[in-house]
């Protein structure tokens, strides 16, 4: 059984309905333009693509993640204030000077999409946004507490030698670095992609649609505002990749990891094609096709998060038998972050995520509900299975499909 076949059928069916009711749009003229084989778009011989702001933020997150690695590897204290400064880009905290002077920061794009956190779609609010930002900031102090020289054990924040790599665990066993990195793949990247830039509320806002149709360029730019919005979504997926070394980061990397499983081996092509096709459609003023690509990206990106969440729950489950469970905590922390990410997904054609904020919070609370959180390993297995089943069934794949890459 192949998930992808069903998924394609479902998408096709959705699209039929979708098209049939969008009576204010003119017919698609998809046959009149070329979809490039790579994400390359030009006007008057110059590129129209710009996602430098996204690349900047992903590089910022890289530097933040590396701080945890360095502190863990060297046995030095992690500086929570420094991480806090990096999160909001204050006091020139980055080693790369361009990041300091970029005018960008991660915090202001954390749980900050216009659809969920300004228009309050998907159950969002400013209260939630503030709480999410504070939650990430807690990871800095948790990481710092874990870097004070203690060995991690039940109820004690500290370090753990995981094979050849030292990891920092909070007192409840969660790994602050992974919560930060995977959590922000959701709260920043997924949210900005699915609920900001790939939202018609943004793409068609104010005069963006009229300007795009008439190819009125943004100020001092070679792109229309709508083209740029689309690029910004693209940048949150692929913006930190380095083609020359085939280095993939964040979603781009996890898309490939999920795609490596035959059960899901169309997600990479689906997402990549949809980005190119949607961008070409914008150039050609074909908003019907554009909106179809939005659905494909939102759906497939959510699927990647779901598959990965289940994968890590199951990987962790197997490793619980080692080192009083500590061997499992890295995987479980990654999974924790991917579950967080599901809150920022977008069900195509709706205003809501695949899992509500409340459902996500219940799953996350369940994971750490034992005495000393993850360390209560005897209670974990049924929780991991329940969460896995809950996610898998919502997306229509099986736990077995996600847990084994084959």
């Amino acid at each position: 059984m192949k998930f992808s076949n069903y998924a394609l059928g479902a998408v096709a069916l959705s699209l039929t309905f979708f098209t049939s009711c969008s009576n204010d749009d003119t017919d698609s003229n998809a046959s009149n333009y070329v979809i490039p084989t790579t994400y390359t778009f030009e006007r008057n011989g110059n590129t129209t693509i710009d996602f430098s702001g996204q690349t900047t933020r992903l590089q910022m997150l890289d530097e933040m993640g590396a701080k945890f690695n360095t502190a863990a590897a060297n046995g030095t204290a992690l500086d929570a204030v420094e991480l806090q400064n990096m999160f909001s880009n204050t006091n020139t905290p980055f080693a790369v000077a361009d990041l300091n002077s970029s005018g960008k920061n991660i915090k202001s794009k954390t749980a900050a999409s216009s659809d969920y956190f300004t228009l309050f779609l998907g159950g969002g609010s400013t209260v939630e946004k503030t709480a999410v930002q504070a939650f990430f900031e807690t990871q800095f102090t948790n990481g710092a507490a874990a870097s004070q020289g203690n060995a991690a054990s039940a109820g004690v924040a500290g370090s753990y030698l995981d094979g050849s790599k030292v990891r920092l665990f909070a007192a409840n066993g969660l790994e602050p670095q992974q919560i930060l990195l995977k959590g922000l793949m959701g709260a920043m990247m997924m949210d900005q992609i699915s609920n900001q830039y790939l939202s018609v509320n943004t793409l068609d806002n104010a005069s963006a649609r009229v300007e795009n149709s008439n190819k009125v360029l943004a100020e001092n730019a070679n792109f229309t505002t709508m083209e740029h919005y689309w690029d910004e979504a693209y940048g949150y997926v692929y913006g930190a990749d380095i083609a020359s070394t085939n280095s993939l980061k964040y979603w781009s990397s996890y898309i490939e990891q999920v795609n490596a499983d035959a059960d899901f081996n169309t997600v990479s092509a689906n997402i990549n094609l949809a980005f190119r096709k949607g961008r070409a459609a914008i150039v050609a003023n074909d908003y019907v096709v554009r909106d179809q690509q939005i659905d494909i990206i939102q759906k497939n990106l959510a699927l990647v998060a779901a598959v990965r969440a289940v994968y890590y729950m199951q990987e962790g489950k197997v490793k619980l038998v080692e080192d009083n469970g500590a061997k499992a905590f890295h995987a479980l922390s990654e999974g924790y972050g991917f579950i967080m990410s599901l809150r920022y997904t977008r069900q195509p054609g709706t205003d809501v995520p695949y899992f509500s904020k409340e459902e996500i919070n219940t799953m996350l609370a369940s994971l750490t509900s034992g005495t000393n959180g993850l360390w209560d390993i005897d209670t974990l297995t049924p929780k991991l299975d329940a969460i896995s089943a809950q996610i898998a069934s919502r997306f229509g794949f099986s736990v077995a499909q996600a847990s084994t890459v084959n």
Partner: protein
């Protein structure tokens, strides 16, 4: 499993189609914009400016009394009439059309935080042109707040600036000049309404972007979003500064205990305008509410106008929990400010998306965001 996906797919397809059903709908528009604009002008806007100007007259007299005889008692008198005028201002800030917009009425009357150093420079210099754009942060109610409440830690200290201080006369002059400037602008706006502008405003009864209904409705939404939500709550509560709090940027920072009453007064004015309540008395007339009902605007099966009024109730309930002093509220428990912000934001959403769509009015201002 196949069945499940098909069901999900149907649901999402339905949801995609139904966006125009569940969202506000507009079913024809035969609404009489002339009577709407006439009601707005005659029963809401002009009486509100009359009230504002009469409050300024009292303030002028009390400031004059204080300057003649600077005492703690007369300071209290001037403060009280300053508060009354400041509240009356909250009831006219919404009407930023015509002359008011031309002469930067709002900016001159209520730019805060006020520029204390700039005020002191003006006082020392003794010459200044309050008409200049660069002077907006050195005048109006916030500058009066500083002069009446912020010069010292006690009434005695404050009165000292107008008696024993070497620049006592300059302080007095500045006080008078600020009140005079407020009077002058308030008077100019009212005179224009009493003159030709009323008819101009009403005659612009079409549906163009520049028509009075479209403009006024945009101003209604923008005032609620920018001047009330952002200005009175959001900025101080760190909503636009990555969580960095600015208690010193609240309205009436020096008086300290009237931020809430000013906020509530401004919101009440918005709700009264929405419902078409006469400024004086308890009469009502055509309004955004009746317009929405006329076009049968609904959201999730409920009248949009009811939803909006219900949200106003939520807003007032939420504000109930706030300290009178917002600087203190920000410092002690900012979460309450954020909750109040969210309650306001919910009505921004109803206004900006649902109401504007239902009335077929385009938002004429944009929020820049992105990179």
């Amino acid at each position: 499993m196949k069945k499940l996906i098909l069901v999900v797919s149907f649901v999402s397809a339905l949801a995609a189609c139904s966006s125009s059903d569940t969202d506000s709908t507009s079913q024809g528009d035969s609404f009489n914009r002339t009577t709407l604009l006439t009601h707005w002008a005659d029963d809401l806007i002009i009486p509100a400016f009359q009230n504002y100007n009469s409050k300024l007259t009292v303030l002028t007299a009390d400031v004059s009394t204080f300057n003649t005889n600077p005492s703690a008692e007369n300071l209290a008198l001037a403060r009280t009439s300053w508060i009354e005028a400041y509240k009356a201002y909250q009831q006219v800030m919404l009407f930023n059309v015509g002359k008011a917009a031309d002469i930067n009425f709002k900016e001159a009357a209520n730019t805060y935080p006020t520029d204390v150093a700039g005020i002191e420079q003006n006082i020392t210099a003794g010459t200044y042109n309050l008409e200049l754009l660069s002077q907006f942060s050195k005048q109006g109610f916030p500058a009066l707040d500083y002069l009446l409440n912020g010069l010292g830690n006690s009434d005695t200290e404050i009165v000292g600036f107008y008696t024993t201080n070497a620049k006592a006369n300059a302080y007095k002059n500045y006080l008078v000049d600020l009140v005079t400037a407020l009077n002058s602008k308030g008077g100019a706006v009212l005179a224009d309404w009493n003159g030709a502008y009323r008819n101009t405003f009403i005659a612009s009864n079409g549906t163009a972007v520049s028509s009075s209904t479209n403009k006024m409705t945009n101003i209604f939404v923008k005032n609620f979003e920018k001047d009330i939500r952002t200005g009175k709550i959001g900025i101080a509560a760190g909503i636009f500064s990555n969580g960095n709090l600015f208690p010193e940027k609240v309205e009436a920072f020096f008086k300290k205990d009237i931020s809430k009453v000013l906020l509530n007064t401004s919101i009440q004015a918005q709700q009264d305008f929405f419902n078409g309540n006469d400024f004086n008395g308890s009469g009502t007339g055509p309004s955004l509410k009746s317009y929405l009902d006329d076009v049968k605007a609904v959201r999730n099966g409920q009248n949009l106008s009811t939803i909006i009024n219900d949200q106003f109730a939520v807003i007032f309930d939420s504000n109930q929990t706030l300290n009178d002093n917002f600087a203190q509220q920000v410092s002690s428990n900012n979460a309450k400010m954020i909750e109040a912000y969210d309650a306001l934001q919910q009505n921004v959403i109803y206004f900006k998306l649902d109401m504007m769509q239902a009335l077929n009015i385009t938002i004429d201002y944009v929020d820049g965001d992105g990179d």
